[in-house]
Every structure is written in structure tokens, then in C-alpha cells.
């Protein structure tokens, strides 16, 4: 425990130090609120608007989780389907990678038109498209980049394709899938907020930030930014925890065990 504390001490010190410097600098140089409100007034805004922040945070999180589920399930289904045909997946992978470099955020206004600007579904669909390609590509890699020795071993048992899938390919893909979901957790929240920027319900983080900033209530806007960041870290940690339970054999878990 104390070893762990010693390991994390520098990071904690940086946190405290930066907050202190920030507060001091804002006061000493009289930096205006619209440039950077001091941590103390952000904290004050957080306390004052706690209930509202919880509501808007929850609404945005719902969009993010919903989108991650829609996009994630679709990506898994597609990857499982095309991994069966080795040549098809090899031919499709470059296009998936190319599609992944399309700035998906550009589709946000389209999704607003398709699914309704006030409906959370339009934000979910932006998130779904955003996370679809990373999850699909990673899953496909995990299913196809399998140790040749394992495949030969299964062949020497005259194993069926189904047995090879469930006993070799799927377990091999799980770490890849979790990596993709961890990245997508953060991505989904940011995607939802950016999608909200193109218009949507007032009761969501993106619109809350825009409105508060427009009325020069910058401390409120920054409090919402902090909420977004904290929610997104929490989302990431939840998936990390699921990963630890689901694939205890994986290298990342081993390192954690030994410390």
C-alpha cells in the first residue's frame, strides 16, 4: 500500500501544485473569468449547480453508453461474420481502416436530421458510427491474428470450425476487444458532446457548456467540463474493471497482480 502511494505521489503532487499555481496566477495577474476562471470559483460553481450538473451529465452519459452499445454490438456482429472468410476480411480491412480516417463528427448534423435534433437517438447514432470502426477493426485483428501453432494443434484434434472459433479465436480476440472498448469509452463521451454542439436538448453537457459560456458564466462551463472529464474517466475505469474480471489471464492483469 505504501509502495503504491510512493509510486503515485509525484502525480498527486503535480495535481495539487498545478491547481495551486492556477489559483495563484489567476489572482496575481488578474486573469479574466472568460479566459480562465480560478479553481476555487469552478469548485463553487460545481457545488452551486450540483443537481443540474448531475442531470446533464447523466443525459450525456446515456447518449454515450447507448451509442457505444449500438456501435459496439454492430461492430462485433460484423467482425464475427466476416472473420469466417479469411480472404474477405483481408480484402475489407483496408477499407475499414480508410473509413476509420473519415472525420465521423461531420455526420453529426446529418444524424440530427435523420433521427431528430432533440432525440438522444441522433447523438447515440453519431457515437455508434464513431466507435464502430475501431471496435470492428480491433476485433477482426484479434480473431485473425491467431498463433499458427494453436491452429495446428486444433487441427490435429480434428476440431470443427466452431470449436476453433469458441476455443481459440474468441479468447484470443477478447484482449483486443477490451482495448477497443476502453478507447471507445472516452471517445463515446466526447462524440456525444460534440454531437450536442450541432444542436440538441438543453439538458445535456454540450448544450449546457455552450449556453453557460454564451452568458459569460464561465465557471459553470468549466464545472461542466470537469464533469465530462470525470464521467469519461469513470466510464473507462468501469470497462477496465470488467476487463480484469473477464480476462484475468491477460498480461495487463498479470502486471497488476505482481505489484
Amino acid at each position: 500500500m505504501s509502495k503504491r502511494f510512493a509510486y503515485n505521489a509525484p502525480a498527486v503532487l503535480v495535481f495539487v501544485g498545478v491547481l495551486g499555481l492556477w489559483e495563484l496566477a489567476v489572482r496575481a495577474f488578474g486573469i479574466q473569468q472568460f479566459l480562465l476562471p480560478p479553481p476555487s470559483s469552478i469548485a463553487g460553481a460545481f457545488v452551486e449547480h450540483f443537481d443540474e450538473l448531475v442531470t446533464v451529465g447523466r443525459n450525456t452519459l446515456t447518449e454515450a453508453v447507448g451509442g457505444l452499445l449500438i456501435g459496439g454490438v454492430a461492430a462485433l456482429v460484423v467482425a464475427f461474420a466476416i472473420a469466417r472468410w479469411a480472404t474477405a476480411s483481408r480484402a475489407l480491412l483496408p477499407f475499414a481502416i480508410a473509413a476509420n480516417s473519415v472525420p465521423i463528427i461531420a455526420f453529426a448534423p446529418i444524424m440530427n436530421n435523420w433521427f431528430g435534433i432533440l432525440s438522444p437517438l441522433s447523438k447515440m447514432m453519431v457515437v455508434a458510427v464513431l466507435v464502430f470502426f475501431p471496435i470492428m477493426i480491433n476485433t477482426l485483428r484479434g480473431l485473425t491474428l491467431v498463433d499458427q501453432g494453436s491452429l495446428e494443434l486444433m487441427r490435429s484434434y480434428a476440431a470443427t470450425e466452431l470449436a476453433i472459433f469458441t476455443k481459440v479465436r474468441l479468447p484470443n480476440a477478447l484482449p483486443y476487444i477490451f482495448t477497443a472498448f476502453k478507447v471507445s469509452a472516452t471517445l463515446s463521451l466526447i462524440g456525444a458532446i460534440v454531437a450536442e454542439y450541432f444542436g440538441g436538448s438543453r439538458s445535456a453537457l454540450g448544450q449546457f457548456i455552450i449556453t453557460e459560456a454564451a452568458f459569460f458564466r464561465f465557471a459553470n462551463a468549466w464545472a461542466a467540463i470537469v464533469v465530462a472529464s470525470v464521467v469519461s474517466i469513470a466510464f473507462f475505469l468501469i470497462i477496465l474493471a470488467i476487463e480484469r474480471v473477464a480476462i484475468p489471464w491477460h498480461t495487463s492483469a498479470r502486471i497488476a497482480d505482481s505489484s
Binding site: A11, L13, L36, A228, S229
Partner: protein, 279 residues
Amino acid sequence: MFRAGRSALSFLVVIGALAVLWEVVKLLGGDPNGGWIPPFQWTVASDLNMPHVWDIGASFVEPAQRNGPPLGIVLVNAGIFTFREAFGGFVFGALLGLGLAIVFVHSRLLERALVPYVVASQTVPIIAIAPVVVIWLRGGWLAVAVISAYLTFFPVTIAGLRGLRSPDPRALELMRSYASSSRDVLLKVRLPAAAPYLFAAFKVAATASVVGAIIGELPSGIRDGLGGAILNFNQFYVSGPPKLWAAIIVAAFVGIGFFALVRVAEAMFLRGRTAPSDA
């Protein structure tokens, strides 16, 4: 060259197939067209939500505004503008990312102190802090490039750190036995070993930089780039849906184009070396 030609051809085939699929959806559930009455009525497939492929194509040659230049020219200019921001952000981000990775590989203390915040930085919705950055840097494409760099430095730092740590410990011991300076170790062992990791990160960063540039334009009032175009055509969507689609298509091309550019650079730079499989 033959392979490049073939992949370009298959790229066109896929785009063609997508266009056909698009029209098939419209044929099944779109608005009545000529004498044809589709068997279904899907709102998503209406002419407002999914304009005909040929209407989108035609919008490129029609003037964007009354008596203005054709939309295609406007969008290509916007694309170049956004690409310039993205490229600036890519360069800033790559340099910052690599610099941080080099610092972290030499100092465990700084690594422990700062890496958690490097990771946490990516959970901050940049679109929310973009206006502040724009005020700080007095607007212009430079501000957008900085916003874009905020997204691009992260993958480069993480992959760079892994790549700089990737050399065989025996190679490092060998260098120690030559009494070489840490600068030599960096230049002759660590950086070459990190190159495949860095290029994998550059590919991610190229995409992120375009996203960052488009997002950065939105709250900063810059109207010369693709972000501005998307925002603009979104406001007039009802009167001209193909224009927004045209802007999105150009944005897609800028994203894919930048990615492809890094791929080509990677292929030239890493000739004969294999990329790390997990990147």
C-alpha cells in the same frame, strides 16, 4: 505501382458499390420518383435525408451562392484550408508527443508525475475549451492547429514511449559497453527501434488532426474551412441537402487523403521493416 493501381481501382469499386446501395435504399423506401412508387416509406431515405447520388454530384458544379463560384471549388478551397490547419496540428502534436516520450523515457519520475495527465487530457471535451484557445491565440488557423495538436500529441506520446522502450536490453548493454552517450543511444538505438511504433501513431494522429481541425473551427468562428462549411450548410439543410453531403464527402477525402499520405511516407521510410503487429 501495380499494387497501388489495383488498390485505387478497388477503392473506386467500393465507392461505386456504396452509391448503388444508396440508390437501392432510396428505390425501396425513398420518395416517389417519376412513375416509381417505392414499396416502403422510410423517413431516413427521403430526398431530404438521403439526396440522390446524382443530386449530390450535381451540387459540386452548381454555384454555392448566387453568382458565386461552383460549390466544388468552394469546398476544395475549404478542404485545403482545413488540411493546412490539420497539418500544422499534426506537426505540433507529433513534435510535442515525441518530445514528451523522450523526456519520459529518460525520467521515471516525470513519467509517473505526468503520464496520468497525458491520458486524462484526452477525456476533456476539446470543443468546450476551443473558444478559450481561440481567444488566447487571437483566432486564425494557428489557434485551430493548436486545438488539433491537442488530439494528435496523445497517440504519439504513448506509442513513442513504447517504441523507445522496445529495443532489446542487450542492444542497450552493447551501447553501454561502447561507453556511448545517452544521445547516441537515443539516435542509434531507441529512435530507429521506435520508428514503426511512431508511424503507427502518426496514422492515428493524421486522422485525429483532421477531426481536431474541423472541431476547432466550429466554436472559433472560422468560416473558411470544412468545419465552417458544415456548420453553414447545416443551417440551410432544408433548402439544399446535397450541399451538406458534398461538404461531408470532401471532409472524408481530406481525412482519408492525410491518412494515405502518412501510409506512403511510412512505406518509404520503413522499407523492409515489419510493423509491430499490435499497432
